[in-house]
Symmetry: C2
């Protein structure tokens, strides 16, 4: 590293720590802001985004042009683009967040203890949240809105490929925050694309309480490995549907096809289908035909191949793979215990479903499968904050601690004990 | 490192990974064990501990003798000792845990969504918990009992100074688990005092879901710095009592004296007293006299010293210090805003109290002070799982994520989504 690069790295560290200090100070203001002020800010940001549509599209074009010049893939360019619909979607999303209930200050479990003390829990913001994301500039508005509603200050760090777009969205956020009389540092967007900024953001634990990375598995693994601040992670979604002995045939076929083909690229898409031996001969040919119609490649175990000769052989790696593509691994299992053991061994603890009419089997599956979402007679692709009634989601957590599954506003808060006495001593 | 040391380190790693694999397998058994079996195990362990009293005392004596030979301090020897009362306490603690409600399987927030899906949350065990602790062999039984009740498998790693005592307690635990028909690997006690065992325990994230260190700040900081598994931490308890303008004088004096002098060495002990300027002249002399009677040294700001000439001067470092000793920092503040700012700047977010008769001030303090416990007209020394109605506690968390404040059985669990449909597709 030459002297200039060192200077720059030092500058980036100073810059990030300044953002951190301002965020920490602003977090105390936003924590005590009332719901009215927060909702007014969210609506004002939505208005500002709608009004700034021409600017947003012009700034986004700069990123798109640079992306094309740098040879970004068509998929990445698509994610990067701000269309009229996406801009309307950002504004609509913010207005929906404004309409959700405010979790901050909710007191629960308040009860008298033998000492005479009244003790309960109050829901409070986490403090300062760092969001690290790639490509999609609309995340800037979504993430800022959710964090603000939960009473947190936010530091947003988008990808360099979306720098102009993110700054243009940031200007709308600043306008909305100012209109509601909240301090500007409640939402700060990192203005450098220097990678040292991320390194500092994920290690300055005196200023940042939690990091939420949004992006591919590679990004999340890199951040988790280096972070000294807690990270709410979303890793693999290797999701299973198990068709039980006691499954209704029509439900089994409908759910299995939907779970795979609703959208191949989502984390809730089914990647392995498990079928009870007693039902395989009747159901697999029907399923194979439907999957063939949709262009889904099947990779099966030996018993599957015996019933569906067109299926390719599945290797051990197939059972562990999140394809995110029109490929499906299929395995015939002895029954529910075998299915649960397969999921425990190969699964990623994201979302797994059983198709059964048996109450006992549904209870066993719900209890014993250790995944963030366990489903009965429902397609795994439902694993989503909107579908779960959380409103918008900041992501889906595959962690076990703090939050698990889709994370909405409440997942961005914590609880503290409140203790009320009358001069009570011990 | 010579070849022998390398061999040994490799052996320790293999040994720990074997414990980890067995714990992971056993975690699935204990997760689905019903409350009856878990409670039977807890009671059988309590019985075994009572029956083994002579053995426990004999094995403990070996540790005490070795400790004396190695020059352990009187305080450490005291913590290490298993007396009749402490053995009875272990058994009683386990029976109390058996009587507590079982959180595993509780379903909450179950509601229908527009899709027709019924969606709620089920409380489930965390999986495998690693406990790292020092000196006190009774932690072996407490920690194992709480983790077992919450449906987790546990790996316990006590200090080398308590190796014989911990193994003797472990034998009682094994007897109890076997009597209830649960697998032995539900609770495993590490049998080597090699430090490499800790290094492996806190990094083998495929086998361990969370680490709970119990001991001094040094131990916890070392573990947190090196861990790749999430750690539930208990760091400083720099606790404040703020006597507000609207305080009742008698309550203020009673609470302040109790918060400091109930026990100097607990994390909930008051370390800094903040007094509103309007009350300082009347209250500080009375408090100074009472603290003098108890032998508490006062270290005050200039305004405090003007009222209480016997007080020593407080430095900036005093405001940030957890004395755990008969020393108290005292500062005169302008009022509640000044007090809250002081606590935000110097506090450790553990437990802080306001003494006031004003509803508005109590609400402001509860909302704006960002600590795991916020108290009104109560002594900070109440910050404790038993006092909070949690039954036994595994520790007090100063983290914000997952659990905050005293951690009981529920803090050793997590939640997953349960989703029930009727063949529902998207």
């Amino acid at each position: 590293m030459n002297a200039n690069a060192q200077d720059t790295a030092q500058d980036v560290v100073s810059y990030m720590r300044e953002l951190g200090q301002r965020a920490r100070a602003a977090s105390r203001d936003i924590a005590r802001a009332d719901s009215g002020a927060k909702n007014a800010a969210l609506r004002a940001i939505a208005d500002a985004i709608e009004q700034a549509k021409p600017t947003l599209i012009a700034e986004n074009r700069k990123d798109l042009d640079a992306g094309r010049a740098n040879g970004l893939s068509a998929a990445l360019l698509d994610r990067l683009e701000l269309t009229d619909a996406r801009i309307a979607g950002m504004a609509e999303g913010l207005r929906q967040i404004a309409m959700q209930p405010d979790p901050v200050g909710q007191i629960t479990d308040m009860a008298y203890q033998p000492s005479g003390l009244q003790i309960g829990k109050m829901r409070v913001p986490l403090g300062v949240i760092g969001i690290i994301y790639e490509s999609r500039p609309n995340v800037t508005a979504d993430a800022a809105g959710l964090c603000l509603k939960a009473g947190n200050a936010t530091i947003l760090r988008g990808g360099s490929e979306a720098l102009h777009s993110n700054q243009a969205v940031a200007a709308c956020i600043q306008a909305g925050i100012a209109a509601a009389g909240l301090p500007a540092a409640v939402v700060q967007v990192v203005k450098t694309s220097d990678r040292a900024a991320v390194g500092e953001l994920i290690t300055m634990s005196e200023f940042v309480d939690v990091i939420v990375p949004r992006g591919g598995k590679g990004l999340i693994q890199r951040i988790s490995a280096d972070a000294r601040v807690p990270v709410i992670k979303h890793l693999d979604g290797n999701c299973h549907v198990y068709i039980d002995d006691a499954a209704d045939a029509d439900k089994a076929i409908a759910v299995a096809v939907n779970a795979k083909t609703y959208r191949y690229g989502i984390c809730g898409a089914m990647e392995t289908l498990l079928v009870a031996e007693s039902r395989a001969a009747a159901l697999l040919p029907v399923l194979a035909e439907q999957f063939a119609d949709k262009g889904v490649e099947l990779r099966g175990c030996a018993k599957t191949q015996a019933i569906v000769p067109s299926a390719n052989p599945a290797t051990d790696e197939d059972w562990a793979t999140e394809y995110l593509a029109p490929i499906l691994a299929v395995r015939v299992v002895e029954g529910i215990d075998d299915a649960i053991a397969h999921i425990a061994h190969y699964g990623s603890h994201h979302t797994d479903a059983i198709i059964t009419e048996s109450l006992a089997k549904s209870r066993q599956f719900m209890r014993e499968v250790d995944s963030s979402s366990v489903m009965v007679n429902a397609a795994t692709c439902f694993s989503d904050g909107f579908e779960y009634g959380l409103g918008a989601e900041i992501g889906i957590s595959t962690d076990k601690l703090h939050v698990r599954g889709p994370v909405g506003v409440e997942g961005l808060t914590t609880q503290k004990y409140v203790v009320i006495g009358e001069g009570t001593t011990r």
